[in-house]
């Protein structure tokens, strides 16, 4: 039995997504840009998927651009509106898929507070020529929820010509998407975070947004993103989105309770564990993320021991595992390198059970104690 506590890294494909995808490989496999009946069949599936997603996201179908995933969507949202004169801006706990392009373009990187919350006031100091301000809906490592409405208001008030981008990759299962799409001009999503396949995502680009295409060629996606449409990915993503939204209302509070049980359990058995950005009620973070730093413990050792107990977890974001640097997120919120090196992210899904949570509490406690005992 596997205890999968790494849903923030990726999720298992939803059976409905698989069911939707299989015929796209073998039956309606035509290229949707073609002109025969097979092509039209594929195109109809893509159109259906686009409309379903648009409805779930409360946007127009023409505002959906299919991409290869979160990283491409983020890169497109940052680079697309930027020029030598007009530079992007973001916050220092964003995903690297946002931070790197902003830094490449010599854009501005603004701070967060000690809970990881974007300091929206910093937008007042950005140059009027700012191309796009990017702020994530929720942090992928520690789960901090960002004040999207407040950031949006600051952008509108201070930078009337700037676009507002929200990286909502971690949010689809947990947040009200229409609130995000109504506040933002650009929104990034990635299917594999909500039961869809890897390699497919969306950039919502609201009407009127001027984006320079980053991939040119066959002029797919109204010329904004060339490349043969990933039909299996697109139909799988739409099916996963529908399946997610059907269960969302019930699951969000249920998973939050399980997460609270998990975090409280770990704190009760390991009193010196630091629960990252803890606030009473835990309404400041995603309902599915439990993030801890264990003093005097190396994440690598902890992850190893948990794996021995069939528990799949992460030290930081999956991208940062294997990196030589401590998590930029923990650094940004003022955690020391020593404390950050003992980080553990446990992320729950709609499928997580109470029995799994209790097993994880027990094994995290045992593992941390074993590591500490060896240190003495």
């Amino acid at each position: 039995m596997e205890y999968y506590f790494d849903s923030a890294a990726t999720t298992k494909l939803h059976p409905k997504a698989l069911e939707a995808m299989l015929p796209a490989f073998s039956e309606f496999y035509g290229n949707p840009s073609g002109s025969h009946s097979m092509a039209r069949k594929s195109l109809r599936k893509v159109d259906d998927a686009r409309e379903q997603l648009a409805e779930l996201l409360a946007v127009k179908p023409s505002e959906i651009i299919f991409t290869s995933g979160g990283t491409e969507s983020d890169n497109f949202a940052i680079k697309g509106p930027s020029t030598a004169e007009r530079k992007p801006a973001t916050f220092n706990t964003e995903h690297h898929a946002v931070l790197e392009p902003v830094e490449c373009l010599d854009g501005a990187v603004m701070p967060v507070d000690e809970s990881g919350v974007a300091i929206a006031d910093a937008i007042k100091d950005l140059p009027e020529t700012t191309s796009v301000v990017s702020c994530m809906a929720a942090n992928n490592e520690i789960g901090t929820l960002q004040p999207i409405a407040e950031v949006a208001a600051q952008v509108r008030e201070n930078l009337p010509t700037a676009l507002f981008h929200v990286d909502a990759v971690q949010g689809f299962c947990w947040l009200n998407m229409s609130e995000i799409t109504s506040a933002a001009d650009l929104v990034s999503l990635s299917a594999h975070k909500f039961g869809g396949p890897k390699g497919i995502g969306v950039l919502v680009s609201k009407k009127g947004c001027q984006l320079e295409p980053q991939l040119v060629g066959g002029s797919q996606e109204r010329g904004k993103r060339s490349g043969t449409l990933n039909v299996p990915g697109i139909v799988g993503m739409a099916a996963a989105a529908v399946a997610t939204v059907e269960r969302k209302a019930a699951k969000v509070s249920e998973v939050k309770q399980l997460r609270d049980r998990l975090s409280n359990g770990i704190k009760a058995s390991l009193p010196d564990a630091v629960e990252t950005v803890f606030q009473e009620g835990r309404l400041n973070i995603l309902p599915n993320i439990a993030h801890f730093c264990f003093p005097e413990v190396a994440s690598e050792a902890l992850i190893f021991l948990l794996e021995r107990e069939e528990i799949m977890a992460s030290a930081a974001s999956s991208c940062a595992s294997g990196a030589m640097q401590p998590s930029h997120v923990l650094t940004a919120i003022g955690y020391s390198k020593e404390l950050a090196s003992g980080s553990l992210r446990l992320s729950l899904s709609y499928e997580t059970t109470e029995a799994e949570v209790d097993h994880v509490i027990e094994k995290v406690t045992e593992s941390v104690n074993q590591i500490r005992k060896a240190k003495k």
Binding site: E300, F304, G322, I371
Partner: protein, 347 residues
Amino acid sequence: MKEQVLMAMSGGVDSSVAAAMLQDEGYEVIGVTMKLWGGDSDSGCCSISDVEDARRVADQLGIEHHVFIFGDEFNEFVVDPYVQDHSDGRTPNPCVECNRHIKFDKLYQRADELGIDKVATGHHAAIEVTDAGYHIARGADEKKDQSYVLYMLDQAQLKRLLLPLGITIKDKVREMASEIGLRTAAKADSQDVCFIHSVGGRQKFLGERIPLTPAKLVDENDEAVGEVESIELVTLGQRRGLNLGGDHDRRYVVDIDRKENKVEVGPKSKLLIESQPLSQLVWTNAEVSGEFEFQCAAHAKTRNGRIQKSGDGYIVTWEQPQPRVAAGQSIVMYQDNLVVGGALAEW
């Protein structure tokens, strides 16, 4: 239940075959690649492709593979002291310090945390158990013998260590690798310092970290005979790269004066000394007295001598005068091809 062993896998052929041998012996082998260096490098064991090689070999053998990052520790205990030693006019051996502080300290510590007793590496050396205890013995392959860089291991460390390649010669290792069909079978041996890029070498590496100081070359009468670009790159006993012209007798670096930034050159005989001070002396087991064979560089010929107390420390006194060993180099004591201890040369 099979006994677990944490096998340090660099991605090279030696540790690949060592892992396979331990598996054959019935261990549950857990492969680990230590990621030590995040900077520019094209040799050694820290490049992405080396980690990939180790991972693929582990997959092929059907064993677990993990990556442990000891970058901070490597910087603190290996790279920074390496740079400082050059700045101080010493000649460090970073492989020895990596073994001392990383492989046989941090990795052991990690094994403890994971509840794993045995640790293995692909070094060409053997472990011999005598009445006196555990000893590192020279590897079967004389040319590849790595006992020299393992001298710092004590009884507690040796007791937990497995060196499966000790009795195997290198050609045989390659043969075994191709028999099993390991992708690393024909991979070139790693050479040089693993954290230094072959393009630019030591000069570029050190030049980016410390100021390099031009120095005068003088003869024994303090007459200037030339100059070098950077005294930090000069090693005692060095002959090449001094640009002294061809009409001289063979002249060697016989002294490096960091205070005056002067390098004295002279005939090899000027290097000869009767005894040399030591630091950081370690014994494999209890302190032993008497005459030993001493090895003063990797793959160097041995010389005979004795260890003696001198003030607070120790000196080695040679049976007959021997060239001075550059400060910072390891001097390793052997008795009947078994390592009994070692120390750093001082001056």
